[in-house]
């Protein structure tokens, strides 16, 4: 079953075409990687799915419903959340609060109730906190609950971003270069986490990543972009041996000489 379908997606900035006629079908509960050289249009693609940019033409369907024209908060409420290439946490808020912000739409407490400390509101808030603690436990940040997010180490910040994104209970989770700047040990931990999230949280994962080891290891399918165009798609093995892909990464001479 396809959860996300992208049809003829094109984005032009003035005269520059950032992505052109991209088609994708993403299976529910799969892990999909979007790869390509720098400037290939990968982040632009993510930005269109999350409604940061509106596509020039084409359509994006989540469970058959179009997301084009919605606002970012609506798309995230429908179940697509993300992390960022350059970490964008709420640095002056605590680790716990960052996760609670991610839970915003699921928190049904009314502020008047909070101020008056009504019993059922208290219960809701306590439950929210418990859920937030569970999430922090899950991403391995249980020891930093009340730390300011900005003070965390780099790898921990990346994991907190994931924690904040899954707090919204997404159907589709977009990870923009989750392993960037991580050492091999942190990367391995991240790989396990991504695997685990797919099974435990019943979430579909799409990631942009440059670490080919990671990509080949965890992806069910891979889409390759170059200069805004989709040049290849398929299973990791197919992509590994695809001439066009090797050309895109290493230049034209690489295939014949290699």
């Amino acid at each position: 079953m396809n959860i996300l379908e992208v049809k003829h997606l094109t984005k032009e900035f003035g005269g520059l075409t950032a992505t052109s006629d991209i088609n994708m079908t993403i299976k529910k509960n799969s892990i999909t990687a979007v790869i390509g050289p720098n400037g290939a249009g990968k982040t632009t693609f993510f930005n269109m799915i999350t409604a940061v940019y509106h596509p020039t033409s084409g359509d994006i369907l989540l469970n058959g419903k179009s997301l084009v024209g919605l606002k970012p908060h609506q798309v995230s409420q429908f179940g697509i959340t993300r992390t960022f290439q350059n970490i964008r946490l709420f640095e002056n808020m605590t680790v716990l609060e960052n996760v609670l912000v991610g839970m915003h739409q699921n928190l049904k407490s009314h502020w008047i109730g909070t101020l008056l400390q009504l019993p059922h509101i208290r219960k809701i808030e306590e439950n929210a906190r418990t859920t937030a603690y569970d999430i922090l436990n899950y991403v391995g940040l249980e020891n930093y609950v009340n730390e300011n997010a900005g003070n965390l180490a780099y790898g921990a910040q990346r994991r907190l971003e994931i924690g904040r994104a899954i707090a919204a209970k997404p159907k589709v989770l977009l990870l923009d270069e989750p392993a960037a700047g991580m050492n091999p040990k942190e990367t391995e931990r991240l790989t396990n986490l991504i695997h685990d999230m797919r099974t435990k949280l019943d979430v579909t994962i799409i990631l942009i990543e440059h670490d080919m080891n990671l990509v080949m290891k965890i992806s069910d399918s891979i889409y390759v972009l170059d200069h805004g165009e989709l040049i290849a798609s398929g299973k990791p093995n197919e992509i590994r041996n695809n001439k066009k892909v090797i050309e895109a990464y290493l230049g034209k001479g690489a295939v014949s000489n290699g």
Binding site: H73, F90, H104, T114
Partner: protein, 330 residues
């Protein structure tokens, strides 16, 4: 000289605190909106003034219906302040919708929104003046006296170096109500879902919107709360000082804004502290300037004194007392 200053200290504290908490609550309105939109909403002082007038209208209506004599004063007060707060809260939301949101949608420069807020400020002043003159024939309105029971603090007999201090019962009312408002706001911002969303939007609007937060709604909530607090404070001002006119919002607004800058603009606790400090400094100056300068400067120089302190603070700590210095990233 020092003996004089110490003698007056209790009275200075009482008067300064009254004025200071008023500044503090109004300052919060400036600082909250600045925190979220980086907009200095100059219309906020006039929202405070409008609150005072709405309070006066409700009070006169209740008086006309005979409720003022029939009901206990505290109940009348609660009715008046709640109605004025809700009305000014809605006014704030309306101002944001009509004047600021369209500019934001078009990505207008922040300066345009600032000029717009000055425009709104004049519109409110003249609108209130027009209505007041139409109804009463005079734009200066004197509210029916409430909570004007006088108390004397008999300090002199126990502590001979102090003079006695006097205050009205409205002083206690102002103090209690503002403290309740400040604590409630602090809880709201730090503990509730919407308060947390507010802080998230203040830090990074785009990221917040990608985390399911409806940014426009958060901005509306911010304007409602800031304006409702400002309007309620207007009611307190009317009860404490008795006379109001459409221009009380201007200078008080400037001073509350000053208090917000003093505490570090964008920082809510900073605004509370800055407001109380400015009120105390101003009253200290009003009471002691002529003694300190041997008559060269009278009480009317109190504002000069307060603003000099502001300039000094900003020279040595430009981010305000509680603000964080912005580290320029290269």
């Amino acid at each position: 000289m020092l003996a004089h200053i110490i003698q007056n200290l209790p009275q200075v504290l009482i008067d300064g605190l009254t004025l200071g908490v008023v500044y503090a609550v109004v300052a919060i309105g400036y600082t909250m909106v600045y925190g979220i939109l980086e907009l200095i909403n100059f219309a906020h002082g006039d929202v405070f003034m409008t609150g005072a007038f709405i309070g006066a209208i409700v009070l006169f209506l209740l008086m006309g219906m005979g409720f003022l004599a029939a009901l206990p004063a505290i109940l009348v007060f609660i009715i008046v302040i709640v109605i004025a707060a809700i009305a000014t809260g809605l006014l704030g939301v309306g101002i944001e919708r009509v004047a600021y949101r369209p500019l934001r949608k078009k990505n207008a420069p922040k300066l345009i929104a600032l000029i717009t807020s000055i425009g709104i400020s004049f519109v409110l002043e003249d609108l209130v003046r027009f209505i007041a003159e139409l109804k009463t024939g005079n734009y200066i309105v004197t509210a029916p006296p409430m909570f004007n029971h006088k108390f004397t603090l008999n300090l002199h007999s126990a502590l001979p170096f102090f003079n006695n201090a006097t205050f009205q019962s409205s002083f206690l009312l102002v103090l209690i109500v503002t403290i309740i408002m400040l604590i409630a706001l602090d809880l709201f911002v730090n503990k509730t879902k919407w308060g947390m969303a507010m802080r998230a939007v203040a830090q990074d609007r785009d990221t917040a919107s990608l985390m399911t937060i409806n940014v426009n709604r958060v901005i509306s909530v911010t304007f409602f709360i800031g304006s409702a607090l400002g309007g309620a404070t207007g009611v307190l001002f009317m009860i404490q000082y008795g006379t109001i006119d459409p221009y009380i919002g201007f200078i008080l607004g400037i001073k509350a804004f000053t208090a917000a800058v003093l505490g570090g603009i964008g920082n809510i606790r900073g605004a509370m502290f800055g407001g109380v400090m400015l009120g105390l400094l101003e009253m200290f100056a009003a009471s002691n300037l002529s003694i300190i300068t041997h008559g060269a400067m009278g009480a009317e120089y109190k504002d000069v004194f307060a603003f000099i302190i502001l300039i000094l603070v900003l020279i040595f700590k430009p981010e305000g007392l509680f603000g964080k210095a912005v580290v320029e990233k290269v």
